[in-house]
Amino acid sequence: MAFLARRHSVLPGFGPTLGFSFLYLSLVVLIPLSLLFFRSADLGWGGFWNVITSPRVVAACRLSFGAAFAGAAVNAVCGLVVAWTLVRYRFPGQRLLDAVIDLPFALPTAVSGIALTTLYAPTGWLGRPLDAIGLKGAFSPLGVTIALTFIGLPFVVRTLQPALEDLDLDQEEAAAVLGASRWRTLRRIVLPAITPALLTGFALAFARGLGEYGSVVFISGNMPMRTEIAPLLIVAKLEQYDYAGAAAIAVLLLVASFLLLLTINLLQRWSGRRHMRGA
């Protein structure tokens, strides 16, 4: 652990605490996760390519990426309205609504999954009206999108709220005094200031949606080629003892989420710079 050399400090316990933490992380996270890459390497490039371009995997990935993107997009719009209302307005029941935002974090995904399925099934409270206008809620790609919207909402709202609270009201007043309409002020002053936070929230919700399993497997119906999501295919391959195939799909998803994380980090650096310049 030569690279973990420390600078001088009077506080005790650096060696044991860092040593223990690093050992724990290696055993629990680093070693098992790197095994995934070795296991998929068993296939070779050709085998890996064959797995991830097989029609069933392509269909599942298209659904996973598409539904996660659509869910994140709905959340970017509705989440912005929700965050704006919670930050800028005072109304009865506000604290309750604010606390409820975290519900998708706190509610176990299996519980959200069966509740959403019951709600959007053709006989459910929301499934019936959807059915009446010719839309299928549960057991369709729309159902997957609904579940991923539910799961992703807190990421967008909780990322936007601090950014909205930090907005400088003087700039909005100045714009109004200079004759800008409220709409123009929002578009030209407020929106650019919160864009990094909005994109970060979108990316977080998108990343979470890509890997989400529990809330989706019930509502999707899991029909091969139609409503099967990528994480479910990993489970299916594991059940057939096709470990290398499972590892290949897992690597694909992991690379996608790490790229998203990288984007989020860059976005945050961007918003940090914006912030400094604004101050």
């Binding site: 420390r6 009077v10 506080l11 724990y24 176990p108 489970v235």
Partner: protein, 301 residues
Amino acid sequence: MGDLVRVRRHRFAGRHDRAATTEPRWVGLLLLATTVVFLGLFLLLPLVTVFTEALRKGAGAYFASFGDPAALAAIRLTLTVAAIAVPLNLVFGVTAAWAIAKFEFRGKSFVTTLIDVPLAVSPVISGAIYVLLFGLQGLLGPWLSAHGLQVIFAVPGIVIATVFVTVPFIARELIPLMQEQGIEDEEAALTLGASGWQTFRRVTLPNVKWALLYGVILCNARAMGEFGAVSVVSGHIRGKTNTMPLQVEILYNEYNFVAAFAVASLLALLALVTLALKTLVERLSAAAVTLDSGLPAAEEI
């Protein structure tokens, strides 16, 4: 999720010229209506569904669901798993936070990133990595079965998968706070002759108690509610390797909806208690911050 602890500023009420910084009244009402309808449909209605479905056939059928030995075994297993995973990650979170927040060293951002990794990984992958390691055709599988040890499709696998997904929760709450607090307090205690352990227990720990409690609450909620990772390693053996979320799945797939939603309602109650405690801890810690700094409470500014 660390930034959820925050002090709300009520600076919009009255201090500024409202006309310049608010929307016309009808737009405001429209925004409010959209918020209430969207949150109502997307968040509250699923929650309500859990309880109405659980009580659909009356309170008798609801409580009868908990007489099922498999349901009781699932509750017991969930409590056991949380009782192992949360203390492990508590010890890890505190030691990692001490090393990362109180010292400067090369490779720090690497360690911090490692802590966050489980949050970015699909729950299914979190389970899959342990199947690849301990499964019958996994790396250590043959050795384990030769020694009569079973990890996958058994309780140890469930515990390990749960530990993996809950690694970040406590550490993430502590690290930013302890970094912000710096090391002056600890240095003062050490200078006055306190031992390292005394310093930690009497100075550091009281300084971070709310964040620690908050982290434990989040960690516990996730440990008890984890589904994807646990589902991959459990093997769904009724009465043996079913946690509560897995029991919900089995009952639901058997069209035993009342029983499925009855077990789900316990998990939903856990989620509601978690949210309530979270809100309470936020308020208490905000109050503690304003008291400490001797400033008037944020609400009064």
